[in-house]
Symmetry: C2
Subunit: 347 residues, 2 copies
């Protein structure tokens, strides 16, 4: 059987689906000519997945650890069957097939930027070094990358946790910058509002919007402590307090902060922010939804119901060059780095 | 209490939400100065909503009728609590508030282009003329339009059922044409593939793509009868057979038909088409999702997992001028009109 760039040859069941939709992958260590094998060091579980597992097991770390082992054993990948989500991993390149286009070499320390939901994985140490109490999972084993995977070398001068946290959300600043540049190229410097501006994807998106030429950046946060934190970071021209689930309150807050926004970036992982995002965006504007809690139908019907002529984008986690761009923002913007480091210290 | 252009003054519970998110609206007949009251003639239930009701009641028309009456009585609007969807309505303008910006006059025969999910509605005839066996519901009563609503006058020369069917999906051709023109303006005539090309929104989208300057149009349909029907209509340069839920098969079919597509338009209302749409789209291309069965996370994670640099749009049902544009396509393209009339004859 020859290999497929998207990994169809590793799908065991059901046949014919892509690896992400598969119930079970073939995670054997032997690689096809266009694959790469990684010696795993650490898994970084998706926050929604870890929260579900922790709640399902009442916070019992040993039970959570066993649940992760059972999932990987059964599925050949770490994809939470309840949330459908995965995460990413860090490791060292072990073997590179002669036809791999990924540009890595044995010994490179890398992070995978495609989801664990489609990455063949075997764990060999029983996760003995993990207490089941955090999303960061020290692990030994191997993972497989296909030809059409995305992988980033980890910088030597940054803590791996910091690089990982940045890479985990690096699609958001890259796409935000692209959309801002499209406005600038057409002759308009846009007002950009980021809902959830003090978070990881939010703070990077604010930095990206300013870097790409926004006329004005607005950060919206839900509590006063985040107002203080984001103001101290200096990443937004204005910081405002609003509950993003309350459309009228959100639109008023953005208006008072210098809106409506030409571009609204939704970075808060709570359901029910679609109508507010649409209402707080100018006619002819753009909403970019990065939150996985976004409801497609709420967004589509909400815009129609408001007679709102806005372009709504599904936040694609992949934009070429996204990891390098996010790392550049982290290095150049002390406010971004400060927010990331304080969040890591809290974890 | 003063009125709000988006209808906040009609929300009874919970307070502070937009009418679409409300459990219950105030459907009183008395209008605020910026409102319009319509004497209802016919409701056109959303297909997903009608299907759910029919299945829940085992096809018993009397029970379906009572269920619709109960919903409207309880909620002050026709929003199916299971599917969340509504539909649209036809009626005659009864009273126009002095501050209404909608540009209609008493006696105008109109269709509402905002969803029933946010339209205050009272039914007064017990739906006595409806057998509960179809989505088309003859009804007497009244409905209220807010300042920021969308309403279209019905043409005198077309059957109301035909106009309604066109207006129900008129956002799709308008947005498709807009995206195609953006490519043309940048110097590229795009290849456009429409998944579900023989349906209502699909056939209009194919006609719009060609009208707006596509280099080539591809219609994808799931069964041979639809191949024959779409080929006879002459709306696509190539018609191909594929199951849109099978990403690999879909991508191969589009490829053989002259793809990959620069623009993929998803018009089939079945779940699981996200990965195929992404895989069948060229790098740098655009996917427009019009299907309400679209999963936001499947689209976002799917594109990331395939390392696919595609722009993904949530199909907004509102684009300025959308109803006029769709009616123009219907009048000028005999293939579109033929498909619509044959579908209406089958209903």
């Amino acid at each position: 059987m020859s290999s497929s760039p998207v990994g169809l040859h590793r799908v065991i069941a059901p046949s014919g689906v892509l690896p992400q939709a598969a119930e079970r992958l073939d995670a054997r260590a032997e690689i096809w000519p266009d694959e790469v094998r990684i010696a795993v060091e650490r898994l970084n579980l998706d926050a929604a997945s870890y929260r579900q597992l922790a709640e399902a097991h009442g916070g019992d770390g040993t039970a959570v650890r066993q649940a992760v082992l059972d999932i990987v054993q059964a599925r050949g990948k770490m994809q939470n069957p309840v949330t459908g989500s995965g995460g990413m991993l860090v490791g060292v390149v072990d073997e590179v097939g002669p036809e791999s286009p990924l540009g890595v070499a044995p010994g490179d320390r890398v992070a995978t930027l495609v989801s664990l939901t489609l990455t063949p994985l075997q764990i060999t140490d029983g996760l003995a070094d993990w207490d089941g109490k955090s999303e960061q999972v020290p692990a030994q084993g191997h993972a497989i990358l296909f030809a059409r995977s995305i992988v980033a070398k980890l910088p030597d001068d940054l803590k791996p946790e910091l690089s990982l946290a940045v890479m985990d959300v690096c699609g958001a600043p890259a796409l935000t910058a692209r959309v801002v540049r499209e406005y600038v190229d057409k002759g308009t410097k846009p007002v950009v509002s980021v809902i959830g501006g003090a978070g990881k994807s939010g703070s990077l998106s604010l930095a990206a919007a300013r870097h790409a030429g926004a006329a004005r950046t607005i950060g919206i946060v839900p509590v006063q402590a985040e107002v203080d934190r984001l103001e101290a970071a200096g990443l937004a021209d204005t910081v405002a307090l609003a509950d993003a689930r309350d459309p009228v309150a959100l639109a008023e807050a953005v208006e008072q902060a210098g809106g409506p926004a030409d571009i609204t970036v939704v970075c808060v992982d709570v359901p029910g922010c679609e109508h507010g995002a649409v209402l707080a965006t100018a006619a002819g504007g753009t909403v970019i939804f990065f939150s996985m809690a976004t409801s497609f139908s709420a967004a589509a019907l909400g815009a129609e119901g408001l007679a709102a002529d806005v372009t709504m984008l599904v936040g694609n986690g992949y934009v070429p060059g996204h990891a390098d761009y996010a790392m550049q923002l982290l290095r150049n913007e002390s406010g971004v780095r400060g927010l990331f480091e304080s969040r890591l210290a809290e974890d």
